[in-house]
Symmetry: C2
């Protein structure tokens, strides 16, 4: 069917641009992560806590992807880091060319880590390489422990899983060990962190690991 | 750009089939809702509580849409209602032709209400008419109160908003009145219910309204 062919062409073109982005990041020694999750899992909150924690240690820039509004870029810009908002106007995921365009507004020579916060969507962003070093999927405890089984591509394509809102575990019908088990069943290589942006739990461990990754590969 | 044209053709074709589905539902006097939300907002839990509450009052059938697994159809089938699972295998939304195919497994003359639970995704399902009488968007308090502003198409295209997990309000940095206000700013005609599947709050009000709608239009 022709639609599949065209979808394939879009993905091929996307992969080409993603490779160019990746080469650009390598030339500047910038470590890039692509954060993905359901809407409201807490990507922006984790980002805010991480920017607080990494201040003075790592030079970070942020690209925010949203269907509509620049609310997230506003939140992030308060932490004094370069922040660019991509508004997709209905588009359900970021593509490599949108990131390439956003990069025109960031001085890569001045930063060490670029965090791209994708559109909140557990399906579509899994297919689109942006040129990142790794995808980080955020899953909150309130979403239920079955999400890795129901949205396997996202968990398979990610290198890191951040389980967020662990402070809410006592109040939800969801098991942390079942969630971990389901995630590892889909992707046994996942590095898992457990965080709460309300209590601050786990943020230090996640940020230390990120800084260590940057030192190793940046 | 050719991609846009093809996307338009897909949507036109989808709308044609949705109109056929709608005519079929009308012939059988079946009231159909299309439930949409982020992954893990609680669509299936609301469905389970609703099936309990409506037992003996309304004959309900369910079509479940998921990227992978038939976990949800299994959950729903326990309530003794006809349940058909559509597995999209990576597809990020249901389309009218998938629903048409699923209908071959349901005896429409034996039911009054058909509930279609869409793939968990706040973006893509908003564009695809399935032939439903109305879209019901579920938003949970744990997702934050800004979601209507960030995913406006879904809230604009829905007739009903169910705010779920209201029992978690004391534990999250999210305001019920801000969420309601943001939703009504995007769609002033939204009928809003507030529910908790843990405490059962609001389920009776929602189900009474649904039964009343069925009586009026079915």
């Amino acid at each position: 069917m022709s639609v599949i062919t065209i979808e394939r062409k879009i993905l091929e073109k996307n992969d080409e641009i993603a490779a160019e982005n990746r080469a650009l990041f390598a030339r500047h020694g910038v470590f890039v992560i692509n954060m993905v999750s359901s809407p409201g899992a807490g990507k922006t909150s984790i980002l805010e806590r991480s920017l607080e924690r990494l201040k003075g240690e790592l030079k970070v820039a942020v690209i925010e992807g949203d269907v509509q509004t620049d609310l997230d870029a506003q939140r992030v810009a308060r932490y004094g880091v370069p922040a660019v908002q991509i508004v997709t106007r209905g588009g359900c995921h970021l593509e490599a060319n949108l990131v390439r365009d956003a990069l025109k507004n960031i001085d890569l020579s001045g930063i060490q880590v670029l965090i791209i916060e994708n559109v909140g969507n557990l399906v579509c962003p899994s297919n689109y390489d942006l040129g990142e070093a790794m995808k980080v999927v955020v899953a909150s405890t309130t979403e239920g422990d079955d999400k890795p089984l129901k949205y396997p591509a996202m968990f398979r394509n990610a290198s890191v899983l951040v389980i967020n809102k662990i402070d809410l575990i006592p109040y939800v019908n969801s098991s942390l060990s079942t969630l971990r088990g389901n995630a590892l069943q889909i992707n046994p290589a996942l590095r898992i962190f457990e965080t709460s942006c309300t209590t601050g739990a786990g943020i230090d461990e996640w940020c230390s690991w990120l800084a260590e990754r940057e030192r190793t590969t940046g």
